[in-house]
Symmetry: C2
Subunit: 189 residues, 2 copies
Amino acid sequence: MKDRTLEEYLESIAAATPTPGGGSVAALCGALSAALSRMVANLAIGKEGYESVQAELKEEDATAYDAVITAMRLAKKTDADRAARVRAMQSAYERATTVPLDTMQACSDALGIALVAAQKGNRNAISDAGVAALVAEAGLRAAGLNVRINLAALKDHALRAEIEKRLEAILNEADRVGHDVLALVEGRL
Amino acid sequence: MKDRTLEEYLESIAAATPTPGGGSVAALCGALSAALSRMVANLAIGKEGYESVQAELKEEDATAYDAVITAMRLAKKTDADRAARVRAMQSAYERATTVPLDTMQACSDALGIALVAAQKGNRNAISDAGVAALVAEAGLRAAGLNVRINLAALKDHALRAEIEKRLEAILNEADRVGHDVLALVEGRL
């Protein structure tokens, strides 16, 4: 999907086929967020006033780059899974739950990356770190809907309880980190 | 920008140039949201069980199509404006405030479209309507950060007060509509 133009991608979402859909868009939100955090870091690399955090900024750029790649892979995987689920029903529900859970984790990682961008990145681009946080949170919550809609169909109750626990943990952590990023951004508006 | 591949777009965001940045991503969120709502409507057009709402579904698809186009235009406009602002500073601040405000409005429209999708679209795709709402809200709040970061620089106090009022109104409406969509989705999880 990464080779598609934005226009083609938007058209393929809108089409009367279940894929690509919300799972793919949730993962794309993680990728967009991490790309914005890369920009906020890159705008401070080699710039006056950021001498003391150059190593951290370079690491941030590398971490965020990996996060973009991971999220785009999950976007593709989500689509493949949804297509498989339409064919196989019950047997595919487990993966239909764990892939969006991985997307939640990828968006949670992107949110942590946005926090570092807001703390250490270019201060003139801090609103972009705020956008990165908002978009990562939306992706995380969106993927959470996809986890929950498939969870009810899981027969394995132990697995279900484990997934519910991880879902809650990621949502709580996201609340905390999202609040921290937005507090930093609001403090500069 | 619509002719760019997703990969190129993500790379251009990450680059050490202020544009494309958060403004463009905010507008893209509006487009992604409206595209998802189109899918939820399209999956119900011509399907059994949706006979009584066919006309509304077709109107929804058309309205959402327009919303995608408007949002993508704003994404392009935001980039051009940010580049202009870097050159012209103060003189460009007014447009730098009104364009993200238009993006907020476009995302607000997308949110209304997501509500119709959740109410009348394919019930098996209702989580996609939920994703549409979450992504539209993120875009709306993200554009709001861009409005507010530029607002302080506006010398025209009457215009500033007017923009602040519109900002508040859009945020309050978004809270309400977003809550309505998510309540519909949660009721089906």
